[in-house]
């Protein structure tokens, strides 16, 4: 089975802080990492390859430095990597990104399955996967937490929706997006690192994939960011001091005062 895994390099948003004065994101010193959900996608791809044969190809879009991340991902089991990197791809929203990846996938050509992470932690939109599937005219299944059966023809997967699990059978070629917890991604190995070093990363510019310039990058983006601002939710808090016991009693009394009689009240 030939598998394409889409990966994105993202800032480690757990480290990102807001500069309260300027209302901007402070990213100085924040590391770039592989989107965590994508590392589950990669691992799932490598496991399927180990079971069914074939290969795992990585595709990403980003600045040239993303090559480093792709090499690390190769060290964790992928066979080859393609990076869409061109100034003209810059500023893409999820629509333009899906289009660019669509061109990349078409150029890779041979695939049975595309695996994406559920979403990227910097945008949390979860749009590129389904959007790419639509462009390719293939089915997709989101939020997969387990692949129950896999063959060259179809997959049977379990997915997590808001209040239930669903068992879904999907004909290949198809795209799935995977949840955290579907697997434990393997750690990169020295052997993989040397292999990645030999193979390298294929970099494709906009012309290499014959992109329609009107549909890529900022120009191809339907959405624009109008402004950004700090979220504010100020309330006036009443602080309860004293020993832990006094604080507990005080809190229950305050709850009773606020109308939670069944909690803070004196009983029947």
């Amino acid at each position: 089975m030939n598998i394409i895994v889409c990966v994105k390099q993202v800032p480690d948003t757990s480290e990102v802080k807001l500069d309260k004065k300027t209302n901007t994101i402070i990213r100085e010193g924040v590391d770039s990492i592989i989107n965590p959900y994508d590392s589950y996608a990669l691992e799932e791809g490598v496991r399927l390859k180990e079971k069914l044969g074939g290969k795992v190809s990585l595709i990403s879009m980003g600045i040239p430095a993303v090559k480093g991340m792709l090499k690390e991902a190769m060290a964790a089991g992928a066979d080859e990597a393609f990076l869409l990197s061109d100034r003209r791809f810059a500023g893409a929203d999820s629509l333009a990104t899906a289009y660019s990846l669509y061109l990349g996938v078409k150029k890779i050509r041979d695939y049975d399955l595309i695996i994406c992470g559920k979403q990227a932690i910097d945008g949390d939109t979860a749009q590129v996967g389904p959007s790419l599937a639509q462009k390719l005219g293939i089915p997709h299944v989101s939020y997969v937490i387990s692949i129950l059966e896999a063959s060259d023809k179809k997959l049977k997967v379990k997915r997590l929706v808001d209040d239930a699990y669903e068992i879904i059978e999907v004909e290949l070629p198809a795209l799935i997006t995977v949840e955290k917890g579907i697997n434990i991604p393997r750690f990169p190995t020295i052997e993989g690192f040397f292999r990645a070093g030999e193979k390298g990363v294929n970099v494709w510019g906009a012309d290499d994939v014959m992109a329609d310039m009107k549909h890529i990058g900022l120009e191809g983006s339907a959405t624009w960011v109008l402004r950004t601002f700090a979220p504010s939710y100020e309330k006036s808090v009443s602080m309860i001091s004293g020993s832990p016991k006094e604080q507990a009693i005080g809190a229950l009394k305050a709850l009773a005062d606020a109308g939670f009689m069944e909690i803070g009240g004196e009983g029947e």
């Binding site: 669903e166 339907a222 950004t228 700090a230 602080m239």
Partner: protein
């Protein structure tokens, strides 16, 4: 091609753009900003330059006559034989937007034997209900539902199309927007119309919830957005409202390539958190995974559910289904007790509409206190222990 330029006559070399650039793409050369290859045209520099010296020339690749598009649509998600609550919330929002624009509200209702639910949608604010009915629509299907929505939108040309940011909505919406080649903004928390331009302004948390971004879709229609359940207020239904039902049959539904084989609904699964009136949530500040037992006990005593912040879910202390926040669930209980949660914006985004918030944290400067009604500075585990003791003694008293 769209490009970013530095107006050299305006640039004074103050370096502010360097600090605000999330991608370290800007350097100073000869005291002028120079934008390097790492630039992804996010526009942070353009928005923050005090001298207006950086300009992104936005050229829209797509051409479309947007004046032909009218009306605000809502996807009426079906679940378990009824319309999902988020659809009613969205109808309320759609009504407000449509009244501002002087346009109508329509609901898209897809399923098998669902047409009678149109009345309810009208009561909540729809002027039209487009019904797509048939055996093949019995179960949710990304492919079939997307195709139906795309056909409907191509034929009736709505200006705005809203979907719930539920599992289905977040999966379906991008297929529709991709096919219509239009913009889609995920997980919006505020929807508005810009007075001047009449543009639909969609606000959502970005960068892991660290910052809010207002997003527009200037040149493409429909302007699509998904909205988190429980963010918009559900309006009061008016069953006296009139509206019309339009049956719609898309050509050739066909057989979807992804088919539902089985649905496993677990008792209390997941919904317990969203529906709970009381939530006791734990964060890293409870120090030890063992203290989760205390949190669970307190939740039990209060007939509530257990919530969690992302760090302790990531650390494997508790299952992801308990996670509250931007990447977890949005909740709005009557009472939210946050124990050892510092109040990172991304957590707050998921619980700030709780009616009453009690925050317990060691750090008196923790941001959680800014949104709390009651604040307790102290060791979370200790204080929960005391709360449990107090509640137990009260229960014992009332049992006497």
């Amino acid at each position: 091609m769209a490009k970013i330029i530095v107006l050299e006559e305006k640039c004074v070399g103050c370096g502010k753009c360097i600090n605000v650039c999330p991608f370290n793409a800007i350097t100073l050369e000869n005291n002028k900003a120079v934008i390097g290859d790492a630039c992804v045209m996010c526009g942070a520099c353009e928005r923050n330059c005090p001298f207006g010296a950086i300009k992104i020339e936005r050229i829209q690749g797509y051409e479309q006559d947007i004046s032909l598009y009218k009306g605000v649509w809502v996807f009426a998600e079906q679940r378990g034989g009824e319309t999902a609550g988020v659809a009613f919330e969205l109808l309320g929002a759609a009504r407000r937007l449509a009244d501002r624009l002087g346009e109508s509200v329509a609901a898209v209702l897809i399923g098998d034997g669902v047409s009678e639910r149109a009345r309810e949608l009208i009561a909540y604010g729809a002027d039209f209900v487009y019904v797509v009915e048939g055996k093949e629509y019995e179960n949710f299907s990304d492919e079939l539902y997307a195709n139906a929505c795309v056909k409907l939108a191509e034929e009736h040309r709505p200006s705005i199309f809203l979907l719930g940011a539920t599992a289905y909505g977040r999966s379906l919406a991008p297929r529709i927007s991709s096919s219509l080649e239009t913009g889609l903004t995920a997980d919006c928390t505020v929807l508005d119309i810009d007075e001047e331009s009449g543009m639909f302004v969609q606000t959502r948390p970005a960068f892991g919830g660290n910052i809010m971004a207002s997003i527009v879709c200037p040149a493409r229609r429909p302007q699509m957005a998904t909205v988190r359940p429980r963010v918009m207020k559900k309006p009061e239904p008016d069953f006296g409202r009139s509206g019309s039902t339009v049956m719609f049959l898309p050509v050739m539904a066909g057989t979807p390539k992804a088919r539902l084989l089985e649905r496993i609904q677990e008792e209390g699964f997941g919904t317990s958190l969203s529906d709970a009136e009381v939530i006791v949530a734990a964060g890293r500040g409870i120090c030890d995974s063992k203290n989760l037992e205390l949190v669970e006990e307190l939740a039990r005593l209060l007939n509530g559910a257990v919530g969690a912040s992302r760090p302790i879910v990531d650390a494997g202390w508790i299952d992801h289904s308990h996670q509250v926040g931007q990447t977890g669930r949005t909740v709005a209980p009557k009472l939210y007790i946050a124990a050892g949660i510092s109040g990172a914006v991304q957590h707050v985004a998921g619980m700030s509409s709780s009616d009453f918030i009690v925050a317990i944290n060691k750090d008196k400067d923790a941001p959680i206190f800014k949104i709390a009604n009651i604040g307790i500075v102290g060791d979370s585990a200790e204080i929960i222990k005391e709360l449990i003791a107090q509640l137990k003694s009260k229960q014992a008293k009332s049992a006497e």
